[in-house]
């Protein structure tokens, strides 16, 4: 979906699209889920969100920074994408 149409930020669905740092390469999906709290971690997408509005930075219990993106994400922002190993 993100690769084709992008993702629109809808304030009626929450305080932002949760994202974390690019400097995190999980060995498998279980680790990705545990460290980010994500419900699913089958795929990853690296994005250049320079200039996109964001909310305050928080940190997960595992020490990963978390940025709530409060603007739309477009396909041309994608730097890299792939599947997280099972």
């Amino acid at each position: 979906m993100l690769r084709k149409d992008g993702v629109r930020f809808d304030p009626a669905r929450g305080s932002g699209i949760p994202t974390t740092t690019r400097n995190f390469t999980p060995a498998n999906q279980d680790i990705a889920r545990a460290r980010t709290g994500a419900r699913n971690a089958e795929f990853y997408v690296d994005l250049d969100v320079t200039g996109v509005p964001r909310g305050p930075t928080t940190v997960t219990r595992s020490g990963l920074p978390e940025f709530p993106i409060r603007g739309d994400l477009a396909p041309e922002m994608i730097i890299e994408f792939g599947r997280v190993p099972k």
């Binding site: 009626a12 669905r13 305080s15 889920r33 909310g55 928080t58 997960t60 219990r61």
Partner: protein, 138 residues
Amino acid sequence: MRDERTQRLADFDLRASAELDSTFSEASVGTYISIHPTADEVELLSRLGISAEACMKVDCYWKHGDDVYFLQVESRYYANRPPGLWARLSAGQPPYVNLVGVVGDRVITHDTLHRVMRAFKEAGVRDMVFGDTLARIH
């Protein structure tokens, strides 16, 4: 195929068994798995190198009754909506009811989490049906 509630409960148990340091139980609210640190976890904050002021939002998976909810407790300094209790159905496999509690506090502690959980319990969230955008329930 297992029904959606069974999937949520199984996922909760799997996470809880793998994340013992993030799993908490409190008699008045039940069990929850916290994704972010709270402002009163001094040792953890020190280990992470962050101050209590960074704890403006705490997400958790909350086992309430016979189901699991995705609960987000946010300071009004973090949230994009006024203080109150909000909820929506978040699509996915399985879908989750996404509860959002916005509080006037500057930071979130375990006491804040428990207070919000009790408020959702008293609001009768288990018996409500939600759409896909956040609706104010209290």
